[in-house]
Each structure stands twice: as structure tokens, then as C-alpha cells.
């Protein structure tokens, strides 16, 4: 199993899941600063030019964060990375889809790449603010789902927590966005996990 990642990108969620599972994997850095994701070697693997990209041992490629997370959970049932039952799976995907498609892609993406939304540089601060609004609303919506629980589905870490982790990490360490107290506590809880510490070290990030 090979994970193509970029440090401090959303691929962190999959990186954490691989470390949590604890089976051998290879993490291959894609150098975004040098636009490696647009070069033929990477495009041949993933024409979407995005990370996370998972290469399975048979050479086949899987993309889209929630799909990769779901796959890793289903193929490692002993790790209990999905809550039980039909509803548990659906609720996990509901959370991951909201985290990736709304909080990340509508929120943080506006903050990181405002020029992909507005073509006049003078308008970029407005785009950044709009992005911050999506993120803030996203956290307000996610906080009561977590509530006072240790993890999103209770006492066990699941794939949805890995999704929430990268959003919280960005808020705390990249964008300085205040979060509801329960999310700060969730982030602290995740930062204490050996798998997360290993990933942060491997990606060269602040632990």
C-alpha cells in the first residue's frame, strides 16, 4: 500500500488512518511547490492531480478521501474504524462528505487559494473571509455532534475523527481560526495518539 501525500494537506487524514492500522505502508511525498501533481508521472496515476491518492499492492489507484477512508476501514475490520451497522456507515460518510466537500473545499480552499475563486487580486480578501465563514459555520455544526464524547461516535476513534483532525489541525496551526471548546479538546486528544505523532513527525509538522 502506497499513499501519495503532500505535507499538511488533507491527505493527513489517510496518513493517520494508515498509521493507526499499523500495517506496513509507504508514504510518497508529492512536491506541490514544484507542481509535481501536474507532471505526467503523477497524472498517469491520478488524472485529478490531487492527494490523497492510494496505490494498492496490485497497482490500482483509489482517490477521494472518504472513499479511501471507507476502504481502509472495511478491509481492516479488526481495527473498528467504522461504527456498527448500516446507520453507522451512513453517518460516517455523512460526516466525511460534509468535512471534505463543504468545510474543506468550500471553506479552507477559499482561504488557501482565493485566486481560484476571484480573478481580481483586490477581491481576494473577500473570498478569504467567505471561506472563513464556511469553516466557522462548519465547526458550529460539527461541535454539537461531537458534544462531550471523546470521539465522534463515542469512545472509539473512527474514520470520521481522522477527517475532523485535519480540519482542526488547519484551524489551529495554519489559519488561526477559533474553534468551539469541544473541538479543541478533540484535537488535543488526537495529537496525543502515537499514530498522529508519527504522521506529524513524518510530514515535518508541528506536533
Amino acid at each position: 500500500m502506497k499513499l501519495y501525500y503532500s505535507p499538511n494537506a488533507c491527505s493527513m487524514a489517510i496518513h493517520v488512518l494508515l498509521a493507526e492500522i499499523g500495517k506496513p505502508y509507504e508514504a510518497v511525498r508529492v512536491n506541490f511547490a514544484e507542481s509535481e501533481q501536474y507532471q505526467p508521472a503523477f497524472v498517469a496515476k491520478n488524472p485529478k492531480s490531487k492527494v490523497p491518492t492510494l496505490e494498492r499492492d496490485d497497482g490500482s489507484i483509489l482517490t477521494e478521501l472518504p472513499a479511501i477512508a471507507y476502504y481502509l476501514a472495511k478491509t481492516n475490520p479488526d481495527k473498528n474504524l467504522l461504527p456498527d451497522g448500516v446507520e453507522g456507515e451512513a453517518r460516517s460518510l455523512e460526516l466525511l462528505e460534509y468535512m471534505t466537500a463543504t468545510v474543506h473545499m468550500r471553506g479552507f480552499t477559499r482561504m488557501f487559494r482565493p485566486y481560484a475563486f476571484a480573478f481580481t487580486p483586490a477581491d481576494e480578501p473577500k473570498v478569504v473571509e467567505a471561506g472563513r465563514g464556511f469553516v466557522t459555520k462548519g465547526f458550529e455544526l460539527l461541535a454539537p455532534i461531537l458534544g462531550e464524547q471523546a470521539f465522534l461516535f463515542g469512545d472509539n476513534f473512527t474514520i470520521a475523527d481522522a477527517g475532523l483532525f485535519f480540519l482542526e489541525y488547519w484551524a489551529a496551526h495554519r489559519c488561526n481560526i477559533p474553534m468551539p471548546a469541544v473541538l479543541n479538546a478533540h484535537l488535543a486528544r488526537l495529537m496525543a495518539r502515537p499514530a498522529v505523532q508519527k504522521v506529524l513527525a513524518d510530514e515535518g509538522l508541528t506536533a
Binding site: P47, Y70, E87, E89, A90, L93
Partner: protein, 205 residues
């Protein structure tokens, strides 16, 4: 089960899936133009202010297209809308999430609601063009997955309902030149009774 939908919105794909499995369901119609999605009555149901949303039989609300599709598939296993093989299931979700997250939200949303992307009214057309490019490139990528199969995963799956709603939008609104196999997929979908019934119910046919 109760589906909250707006006529011709991406909820159309979920409506199709409910028909495909022969689910026992009720419909609650919302009028997007009248601002129903942002009204307090609806925000009390779904604070995201979006469709589709589904009220499950226990009264809880489930949102997000891939989650609804997965739920419908898992509660109606006889319809085989998602494979029990985890690799194929992951591929199905991969296709669904790309269609929702990129083709729809990064592409079509720019075409429909450019002001949400650029605050500059003079950039409306440029945002629309950018949206059409993302939408068209997305359909081309999905076309490669489809290949010469009838359906995206070979057998009919939830991913086909996702492709259906974006190709419906393409024919109705975006009008980008779609690959021949994507257009053939649309025709194949339109021939399915479950699709025809959803189109009639939503006032689209």
C-alpha cells in the same frame, strides 16, 4: 422514510434511487426559488439548508448525497446498488464523491451561482466559463471510468444515479459537449422506469 427535495436539484438522484429500490417513502417538496431552503422551518430540519435530506423512520435526519445513497443501498440489499466487495464499494463511492464534490460543487455550482465564488459582478461570465471547464473536464474523467460499459461499475449502482443528475443538468443548463458514452448513459437512464417516474413527479417530463 421521507425525502426533502427540490425539483431538478441533485436530490433528483436520490429520488431515482428510492424508486429503483421500491422504497416506501414520502416526498416533501421545497421551492428553491422561493427561498424555502433558507427558511427557519427547513433549517430546523436540516441546518445545512440543502437538499437532499432524508428523515429516517426513527425521526432522525440524514444528509449528504453519498450518505443517503449508501443508506438506501444498505437498507435494500436485494437491489444490489452497492457491491458487497469492499474494493468495488470504495470505487462506487469514489465515483459518487467525484461527481458530487467536483463535477457538481466545483463545476456546476460556478455555472449556476457565480456570485458565490467571485464577489465581483463583472466576473460572473468568467466564473461561469471556469465552471463549464471544470464540469466538462469532470465528465471526460467519468467517461474514462464508464468506458464501453452500460453502467459505471458494470452493473447499475448508486454511482449511475449521481452521473444521471449531472448529465440531466448538462442537457438542461450547462450544455457542454459531453463524450458519446456519457450521452448514451443518459439515454439509458432515461429509459429506466424509476427515472421516468421521478422526472414526472418532479415536473421535469
Amino acid at each position: 422514510m421521507k425525502l426533502y427535495y427540490a425539483s431538478g436539484a441533485c436530490s433528483l438522484g436520490i429520488h431515482v434511487l428510492l424508486n429503483e429500490v421500491g422504497a416506501d417513502y414520502e416526498l416533501v417538496k421545497l421551492d428553491m426559488r422561493a427561498g424555502d431552503l433558507q427558511k427557519p422551518e427547513y433549517l430546523a430540519v436540516n441546518p445545512k439548508g440543502k437538499v437532499p435530506a432524508m428523515m429516517l423512520d426513527d425521526g432522525t435526519i440524514l444528509t449528504e448525497w453519498p450518505a443517503l445513497a449508501t443508506y438506501i443501498a444498505a437498507t435494500h440489499p436485494q437491489a444490489h446498488l452497492i457491491s458487497s466487495d469492499p474494493v468495488i464499494a470504495a470505487r462506487t463511492l469514489e465515483a459518487v464523491m467525484y461527481i458530487n464534490g467536483t463535477v457538481h460543487l466545483a463545476g456546476f455550482s460556478r455555472v449556476m451561482r457565480p456570485a458565490v465564488f467571485s464577489p465581483n459582478p463583472e466576473e460572473k461570465d468568467a466564473v461561469r466559463m471556469q465552471g463549464k471547464k471544470i464540469f466538462g473536464d469532470g465528465l471526460a474523467l467519468v467517461s474514462a471510468t464508464l468506458g464501453d460499459q452500460d453502467y459505471l461499475m458494470g452493473d447499475f449502482s448508486v454511482a449511475d444515479a449521481a452521473l444521471f443528475y449531472v448529465t440531466f443538468w448538462n442537457n438542461a443548463v450547462a450544455k457542454v459537449e459531453a463524450p458519446a458514452n456519457i450521452n448514451a448513459h443518459y439515454d439509458r437512464m432515461m429509459a429506466r422506469p424509476a427515472v421516468q417516474r421521478a422526472m414526472v413527479t418532479e415536473g421535469l417530463a
